[in-house]
Symmetry: C2
Subunit: 249 residues, 2 copies
């Protein structure tokens, strides 16, 4: 049975303040939980309903697991339809970005993306296309928000997320910065070369003015219809796809 303090701890992790205080976040769903346990993240605890017991047999014996009832799971889940397995995963210590790791490849830079679903989908898409690093402005939604973790479908365990001051980092990196804007060059005619950063802005306001001068090439997805804009996760995916197409040539 879950103790009151366990319930209180897990519930508190819905909030960024307590995630930072306890250095823990929540992952739900068998696939997601297994991927975190297998990929170098420290797992603090796994709570599971009886039907999932056989599926967790192969986990390291060092991991603290606890069987709980469906009713208990409902008290701690962040999901409308809980999936039967919930883990507390340790937030890795923040490390300085190693600039050399960003050379000879493409990375994504997010300037103030706010929606957890968008953030999670961007991480999942990056993972599909083999993009290993996402650099976020400090006001980008917290990647350990349970809705973000859920939307990544396990990909968060494979993509590195950095939060930093873009105003300082972008000039220091000395990499080409491809900014997604509405008045840039046609993405289908853009030469992306072999390395660079794809910079995407906030859902409502786009890339903030003080970041605009740091863009080396403004790039636009040509519009044939009348929608005012594309969703930021959709636009990011089209950039990833175009870069992938260019690289695979």
């Amino acid at each position: 049975m879950l103790s009151k303090s366990q319930i209180s701890l897990v519930s508190s992790l819905q909030h960024k303040k307590f995630r930072r205080q306890h250095h823990l976040f929540i992952a739900e769903g068998l696939k997601s939980v297994v991927e975190f346990t297998q990929s170098g993240y420290d797992t603090e605890a796994i709570y599971y309903t009886p039907q999932f017991a056989p599926k967790l047999l192969n986990l390291s014996k060092k991991i603290n697991t606890q069987e709980i009832s469906e009713a208990e799971l409902k008290r701690i889940t962040a999901l409308k339809t809980p999936s039967g397995v919930l883990a507390l995963i340790r937030i890795p210590a923040t490390q300085d970005i190693n600039y050399n790791l960003l050379r000879n490849k493409f990375s994504i830079v997010l300037d103030g993306v706010q929606d957890p679903g968008n953030m999670g989908t961007i991480i999942r898409t990056a993972d599909w296309f083999g993009i290993q690093h996402i650099i976020c402005s400090e006001d980008t939604v917290d990647v350990y928000n349970p809705k973000v973790v859920q939307a990544t479908m396990g990909s968060l365990s494979r993509v590195n997320i950095h939060y930093t001051d873009l105003n300082k980092l972008l000039p220091a990196l000395k990499l080409p910065v491809f900014g997604a804007l509405l008045d840039g060059t046609n993405i289908y005619q853009t030469s992306f070369g072999t390395e660079g950063l794809v910079l995407m802005g906030n859902e409502g306001n786009g890339i903030r003015p003080e970041i605009l001068p740091l863009i080396s090439t403004s790039v636009t997805i040509p519009q044939a219809g009348k929608a005012e804009s594309l969703n930021v996760a959709i636009a990011t995916a089209i950039f990833c796809s175009e870069i992938s197409r260019n690289t695979l040539k």
Copy 2:
């Protein structure tokens, strides 16, 4: 002031059964509401908070508008952060699909897409790329679901959505069917030609087995990383982008 019967009507429209019974759906947000009123949809009523009064002055005088309080809006909105304007829009009468309207262009076919956010994002993306028709299996999420309408950001007013039996329609149309599958030909090397259908499956189960034989070309977005799959709205967008790139050549 809103009457009890008005509140009851608007609240009932959260449910498909009552949307069908009243032939009405809810649109929220100034931009979305204005786009519906200007695009051939019949507007049954517009409810707005005082601050939006000046922004609605240009609407046709024939539309029934009513100023309500913030508290009243909170009772009828489907949004967590209501946007100040809510309209009841008449669901257009179902029309048979005119096959000729689908020639010499690309349309999207959805086989059982369930998530309202995905559906709305697909409509918004289609609108960006100038795709005018989306054909849905009968079990695809209802396009008049308030969460779908919200995610389209006004694009629902410009894209035609048809619900039908795909098993009957696809053979009758005699158009190339490009099916998004994990083991098809590389999308970047696919010749899409000048007309066809892009077929996307359900979030968890993909395209259902009885539809698979109706695919003329299986197409895959090459995977460079380790994510198990792409989100369906993301995959649809990459197909739209590739077709747009091919067509613009």
